[in-house]
């Protein structure tokens, strides 16, 4: 009475993860959480603008020298940039592959259609694309200054004020931050489910946490252009 035993060799861990929809979602969750952690720090740093040019520019300078003398000048910043770039790419590639798969899995639409899922859930894909485009604009605007005529490297306070003096630039930033809030609201909670952290009893906690993160980040980021627009920061 011998039982059949499995002796076949299983694929390696990276292969298993990459070949599976659940694995790809895990990549999305982890990269998303990395970006989220970065955003919290980014937003916190931005708020230093309310303490004047000295504090803000000083903080920007510190970001370049942090970790010295172990790390060289700007190395810490570059490490973060590389990790973030990798996270964005991983997030986007898996999202693209999964979306294509999802469309193929539902080739025929229902004749009787209903809008049912929440706005945040429905806008994850296009919202993500908008955020990707925004990141490009944001880097060209306030990191390299390519699209900002009067950009002076090393003077972030003046650059931020100059950038937000353009009303259309304020619109771009505020719309992008609203999109970010929606993305995080569904994204954070989803990541918790994907990583298996959620449960019936913890569901409320994760939903509240997702709403809180979305709200705090959106308000925190939007505060800067609004402050410049209203003349609070000048």
């Amino acid at each position: 009475m011998a039982l059949a035993t499995r002796t076949d060799k299983r694929p390696s861990l990276p292969r298993t993860v990459w070949d599976s929809t659940v694995g790809k979602k895990t990549v999305m969750a982890v990269s998303g959480l990395l970006m989220l952690a970065y955003l919290v720090a980014h937003m916190y740093g931005n708020l230093k603008i309310f303490f004047g040019p000295g504090t803000f520019d000083g903080y920007a300078h510190w970001l370049r020298v942090v970790g010295e003398p172990f790390l060289h000048y700007t190395w810490a910043l570059w490490i973060i940039r590389v990790v973030m770039a990798a996270a964005v790419v991983a997030h986007a590639v898996t999202a693209y592959q999964l979306s294509r798969r999802d469309r193929a899995a539902r080739p025929t639409k229902y004749v009787h259609r209903k809008a049912r899922t929440s706005y945040a859930t429905r806008t994850m894909r296009w919202g993500g694309v908008i955020l990707g485009l925004f990141i490009v604009w944001h880097i060209l605007d306030l990191t390299t200054g390519t699209v900002q005529p009067g950009f002076v490297p090393g003077h972030p306070y003046a650059n931020v004020v100059a950038a937000f003096h353009e009303w259309w630039n304020d619109v771009i930033y505020i719309v992008a931050m609203l999109a970010l809030g929606l993305h995080i609201q569904h994204g954070f909670w989803s990541a918790a489910q994907t990583l298996g952290a959620g449960s019936k009893t913890r569901d409320r906690t994760f939903k509240t946490l997702a709403n809180l993160l979305a709200l705090v980040l959106t308000l925190g980021f939007v505060a800067v252009p609004v402050a410049v627009m209203t003349g609070l920061v000048s």
Binding site: R101, K109, Y110, H112, L195, K200
Partner: protein
């Protein structure tokens, strides 16, 4: 009641289908949705037309054979199976749209009948317990903790009707697969195959062409048996655990 039905008619898997309109009278509110379709079919047969093909078997909400999309909702407006849905949930003069489950992995066979054998293949890949056959084991030989028994029972309620796939905007079978994985993985009897089960069933689910989960939650809303969305979370946890173990 007098109703206007718009039903998906498709002669076979390769034929072009279309929504076809029928008028029907004499429907009482105590009829089930399937009895209403029976009444329509009687009329069609007497008129020399081909009756509407739809799946059904037990008609008491336990087999999972029935299932159509009614006005955009899998199994219609109530949280129950199509066979257990009664016409009292509709109004006289209503127009009702009836469509088959729509998913790449569930091709239409005829009219409202779809091929759901992809589910059987997911079960075949690990939704069982390998045990030597023989006399039934002594009931007290394996102690099952109460929470595990409750959880297993909750997941075992899945009747495999496919409403989760039909409702999912991505045509994903995550709720079905998770119900089947969790049902056995929480029990001591399922423990020896705990890792291979979740890995193989998820892999099979992907191979069958089901979509991925975006946690839209449509599946859990449509499920006539109330399998919770967190069932998917539990399966993800099992999958990650098994992947880590297999990687060692």
């Amino acid at each position: 009641m007098r109703l206007t039905l718009r039903i998906w008619r498709q002669a076979n898997a390769d034929a072009e289908g279309a929504m076809t309109t029928y008028e029907i009278d004499g429907i009482t509110e105590d009829m089930s949705f399937l009895e209403m379709l029976d009444a329509l079919n009687e009329k069609l047969i007497l008129a020399g037309d081909t009756p509407v093909a739809f799946d059904h078997d037990c008609r008491e909400g336990i087999c999972g054979a029935c299932g159509v999309v009614i006005n955009g909702d899998a199994h219609g407006p109530e949280r129950t199976t199509t066979c257990q849905l009664h016409m009292r949930h509709f109004e006289d003069g209503d127009t009702i749209d009836v469509e088959p489950w729509r998913a790449g992995a569930f091709p239409v066979v005829k009219d409202l009948v779809v091929d759901r054998s992809a589910f059987d293949r997911i079960i075949g890949s690990g939704g069982y317990v390998t045990a030597p056959t023989g006399a039934a084991p002594e009931a007290h030989a394996t102690a099952v903790p109460k929470p595990a028994a409750d959880s297993a029972f909750e997941h075992a309620e899945c009747i495999g009707c496919g409403a989760c796939v039909a409702a999912c905007p991505n045509g994903a079978a995550m709720l079905f697969t998770s119900a089947k994985v969790n049902h056995l993985n929480v029990l001591p009897q399922g423990a020896p195959e705990r890792e291979t089960r979740v890995l193989d069933m998820v892999a099979r689910m992907d191979e069958e062409g089901f979509g991925g989960c975006t946690l839209a939650g449509e599946c859990a809303t449509a499920c006539p048996k109330g399998i919770p969305l967190t069932s998917i979370t539990s399966m993800n946890r099992e999958w990650l655990r098994a992947t880590r173990k297999a990687g060692r």
